[in-house]
């Protein structure tokens, strides 16, 4: 094995925590730093990977830190152990966090769904901002969500570094999260029932029997005037 290949094989085993540095890297050749110095690298890599998640899910992270000491650390560590980045783009690594959090909640019904709802909301907002603004009809620029918690108020409170104790009572809210075509930002609309029907029709569902088509058409006009393409 060439010197370069040997180095990368040992470095990978070490950085993926399959080997101690004293059993791998330092045996490759002279002049390596002491194992305790080499041991900084897995810690620094973990921090970079965690930062990719925390920067995208800042509300989820802040909420977890308020809910219980050590909860965020437990979550982020478990996610890193379950998944390692397989692309150079940090957002690709963050993409898997919501599905993982969903399975985490499902494993134990006593676990709060608040963090999942916050992460879902944050991911949708991020993902919408990256959608092409001129792709009407190709990429849907809106999503409907019914959250059990007052997610938008919790996110706003966390953005101001406020406590969220008073917002932890379940209080369902239905949202349309959409991309504003002029700024490409994600925005939120609290839809009327007819708006929801109009969006269902947009998504290909038939108009339910007995529903006033004129009011649905009016709701569709309102949606478009609010920027929901």
């Amino acid at each position: 094995m060439s010197e370069t290949k040997a180095f990368f094989a040992q470095a990978l085993a070490y950085l993926k925590s399959e080997e101690f540095p004293e059993n791998s890297l330092t045996k490759l050749g002279d002049n390596a730093s002491a194992p305790a110095r080499l041991a900084w690298y897995p810690a620094l890599i973990a921090r970079q990977q965690e930062s990719a998640i925390e920067s995208l899910f800042s509300a989820c992270c802040a909420a977890a830190r308020q809910l219980a000491p050590g909860l965020w650390r437990e979550l982020i560590t478990a996610y890193r152990h379950a998944y390692q980045p397989n692309s150079a783009r940090p957002t690709d690594y963050a993409r898997g966090f919501v599905p993982w959090l969903e399975s985490w909640c499902e494993q134990d019904p006593s676990r709060t769904t608040l963090l999942l709802e916050l992460a879902d909301y944050e991911w949708l907002c991020f993902d919408l901002t990256a959608q092409p603004v001129d792709a009407i009809g190709e990429d849907r620029a809106w999503h409907i969500r019914m959250y059990e918690y007052p997610v938008t108020r919790i996110v706003a409170a966390l953005a101001e570094s406020q406590t969220i104790d008073h917002l932890l009572t379940k209080e369902a809210e239905t949202l349309v999260i959409f991309q504003d075509a002029s700024t490409a930002r994600a925005r939120v609309l609290w839809p009327t029932p007819f708006m929801l029907i109009a969006l269902a029709v947009r998504a290909g569902q038939a108009l339910p029997v007995g529903i006033d088509a004129a009011r649905v058409a009016e709701a569709e006009t309102q949606l478009r005037s609010r920027g929901v393409r």
Partner: protein, 294 residues
């Protein structure tokens, strides 16, 4: 090679997307992290266009992975090439390091052994990247928290050999150099003079901090009967320190006018604080270089 940009730039980060345009003070150019704008659509696309309409843009990447031994990522190079075309980049700007191997990506900048085989290895891969991207490479000296096994030369000698043999530029990161000096007990001035300054095409300035060893480091130290040291980390989360400003003066004396970037990527302050750093860099340039723009 002299880049067409000049003066003092700042990193264009989300925290300043709005406030930068409202500030009465202005940098001379902006740096974007390439990976945030690859094949950009939506808001990243709009934001980049808006910034491009006012400032020259420099794309600086973190994922070229020039030091690894798996094939260069063709898809990444394609996306990067389109971004470089878009911003009119003269060079491919990244780091002399490795960051990924196969499907495993560290999302970090990792050091290489400083040795002849790795010089040859890097030179070969730089030629491949240059052929695909049609531009010379400008590679940054990274922070190196540990020496890798098999190292037979200094970092300065390694960087010099790679850049000379590949005819590439040096992105001279003075904060990285300073942090390396602090962590290795070396003289920053000596480390600076070991680098190929004739090839320095751009300078980076940033802040750093001292961090106590994490649990995993303490455990390793205990297991191996070693020492768990605190380290200076290049976290881009503070103002440039006086020692690095002094190093910048020396670098200007040795390199002459050179475009300079103020990096501030964590604990990002209001734009006016960042612009204070820009003004300080301009003042240093004026003092050292007289009328010459950096």
């Amino acid at each position: 090679m002299t880049l067409s940009i000049s003066g003092i730039g700042i990193g264009f980060r989300r925290a300043h997307f709005e406030t930068l345009f409202l500030s009465e003070r202005s940098p001379d150019w902006l740096e974007v992290v390439s990976e945030n704008y690859l094949d950009a659509t939506g808001r990243p696309d709009l934001v980049l266009s808006r910034a491009q309409s006012r400032w020259p843009i420099v794309a600086h990447g973190v994922s070229l992975n020039i030091g690894a031994d798996t094939p260069l990522d063709v898809a990444y190079l394609g996306s990067l090439g389109r971004l470089l075309d878009r911003v009119g980049a003269e060079v491919v700007s990244d780091h002399l390091c490795w960051s990924a191997l196969g499907d495993w990506h560290s999302l970090d900048l990792l050091p290489l052994p400083w040795s002849e085989p790795f010089v040859e290895h890097c030179v070969r891969r730089i030629a491949q990247a240059r052929a695909v991207l049609g531009r010379p490479l400008m590679l940054e000296n990274i922070t190196q928290y540990a020496s890798m096994p098999g190292s037979t030369m200094s970092q300065g000698a390694f960087v010099s050999a790679v850049l000379e043999l590949s005819d590439s530029g040096l992105l001279l990161d003075l904060n990285n150099l300073y942090v390396n000096a602090k962590n290795s007990g070396s003289s920053p001035d000596d480390l600076l003079r070991e680098l190929p300054l004739a090839r320095a095409w751009q300078v980076h300035l940033a802040g750093h901090r001292l961090e106590q060893p994490p649990q995993s480091v303490r455990e390793t130290a205990e297991r191996t009967q070693g020492v768990a040291e605190a380290l200076w980390l290049d976290d881009h989360g503070a103002a440039v320190c006086d020692d690095v400003w002094a190093l910048y003066e020396t670098a200007l004396q040795l390199c002459g006018p050179i475009p300079t970037l103020i990096e501030w990527d964590t604990r990002i302050p209001p734009i006016e604080i960042l612009m204070d750093e820009v003004d300080r860099a301009r003042a240093v340039c004026a003092r050292v270089l007289g009328g010459s723009a950096p």
